[in-house]
């Protein structure tokens, strides 16, 4: 019954925040699906450091239940054996499902809007074994919540967001809590403010940060397992009607992590492809 409850929650609640299609590729953003819209994302997300690399590829889908509520699910597969800190800005091997609610939506004029979106979801360990400090750990599901606010217009975008992930304990092991935050600025040059039947490009500067708590193993916190890092990098989003391609890379601005445990993480990159299927169904006559 408990398992059924978790599965039900996973399928009706939702994960957030992994930005895609309309927004940045690393940071948190506010867009949600329109009512009846189905969005599908497929991407490659990579992290590289002195103790190896980790690449995740996955498919995510979202469905707009109302104009302001979207349910999502993301099922990644991870490769590599890098000893890297826990991250929820970058997808790992965890399956996530949840719901996003755009609770503030203020349209101020043509092309402009201010909005805030909250997300809540469940995070379930995927079938792949963990690597690095988490290798051999007993794993349990967790919950993830995010909040993002921002401004969108034809010329500029600005989003701020934060998230928190907490895992349950399994056999006295527990993955670290993660606090993450992001700030994203986007710009579309005047020459690219064109009709919707042409490619729509915009560039982002994405600042992300994460603090992970200590890893609990056999009931004790593993020494030097807590980390803090801040990352900065560009990304570019190209959209044609209902197809979006986005790519970006980040380098560390600040890093407080044990090199003996995690090595020196040097780069993060992401490449995402999105397909959006809008609903032409209209309810009334």
């Amino acid at each position: 019954m408990k398992v059924f409850g978790v599965v039900l929650c996973a399928s009706t609640l939702a994960a957030s925040a992994m930005a895609s299609d309309h927004g940045p590729v690393f940071g948190y953003a506010t867009p949600v699906n329109s009512q009846g819209e189905v969005s599908c994302d497929a991407g490659i997300f990579g992290r590289g450091g002195t103790l190896g690399t980790q690449v995740s590829t996955g498919t995510g889908c979202g469905y707009g239940v109302t104009p302001h509520i979207t349910v999502t699910a993301f099922l990644p597969v991870s490769f590599g054996s890098g000893a890297l800190p826990e991250s929820h800005v970058m997808p790992g091997g965890e399956w996530t499902a949840g719901a996003s609610w755009r609770f503030l939506h203020s349209v101020t004029s043509v092309g402009k809007r201010i909005e805030s979106t909250a997300s809540l979801g469940v995070v379930v360990p995927g079938p792949q074994a963990d690597s690095g400090i988490l290798a051999g750990q007993h794993r349990a599901a967790g919950v993830a919540g995010t909040l993002a606010s921002g401004y969108a217009s034809r010329s500029q975008y600005l989003w701020f967001g934060g998230g928190y992930t907490r895992f349950a304990e399994a056999a006295r092991d527990r993955r670290p809590d993660t606090v993450s935050w992001s700030a994203v600025y986007g710009y579309r040059p005047p020459k690219l403010r064109r009709g919707y039947d042409q490619w729509d490009y915009r560039g982002f500067a994405e600042l992300t940060g994460e603090h992970t708590g200590g890893v609990r193993s056999h009931g004790a916190i593993v020494p030097d397992s807590s980390t803090t890092s801040v990352w900065l990098g560009p990304s570019v989003l190209a959209i044609f009607k209902n197809i979006a391609i986005e790519g970006g890379a980040q380098a560390p601005l600040y890093r407080d992590a044990s090199e003996a445990v995690y090595g020196h993480e040097k780069v993060r990159f992401a490449l995402n492809f999105s397909y959006l299927r809008f609903s032409g169904h209209n309810s009334s006559h």
Binding site: G36, P67, V110, Y157, R194, K241, N282
Partner: protein
């Protein structure tokens, strides 16, 4: 010249199109990117009787042209905007219907739909009363209405007897 052009346009609509709503120009707030416009395009095209849809992201203007004898209602156009998370503002429409009511309070009953609008002249000198009981083609502005609602007053810019 402008007036001549307007008369020519209405004469053309009178002859060629027997549409109820012939054209709806809807200003939409909040669209910033191509998928926003595409979503509006798909939603509008999903309304039976819509012929062409053009979306201008820089002005927010959605221009909908309809086929003759359509039964589309104004509520459907508004819903197509709302379900995509945007807001509709004033709409300029060209519509055909029967003029009922009284000389003091004329009402347009849009042919083939349940839409009814109280007519208010937008400019002085419009002779609405003489067309009572006739089928007319009206060009006018529907003011912004609350979400889920349709304005009940149409500000008439021009009105002619439909052929």
């Amino acid at each position: 010249m402008k007036r001549l052009l307007a008369v020519a346009v209405f004469a053309l609509f009178g002859v060629v199109a027997q549409a109820q709503y012939a054209q709806v120009n809807l200003t939409v707030f909040g669209m910033d990117c191509a998928p926003c416009a595409h979503a509006i395009h798909v939603s509008m095209k999903g309304i039976q009787g819509v012929n062409t849809v053009d979306v201008d992201l820089n002005t927010g203007l959605v221009t909908i042209k309809l086929t003759p004898d359509n039964k589309a209602s104004m509520r459907q156009f508004n819903e197509a905007v709302e379900k995509n998370g945007f807001t509709h503002k004033d709409a300029e429409i060209i519509v055909r219907g029967k003029l009922t009511g009284t000389a003091a309070a004329p009402v347009l009953e849009v042919t083939g739909t349940t839409d009814r609008f109280a007519l208010v002249p937008a400019t002085a000198g419009l002779d609405i009363a003489s067309l009572l009981g006739k089928t007319v083609t009206v060009a006018g502005v529907l003011p912004q209405a609350a979400k889920g609602k349709v304005a009940d007053t149409l500000k008439v810019k021009s009105i002619t007897e439909a052929r």
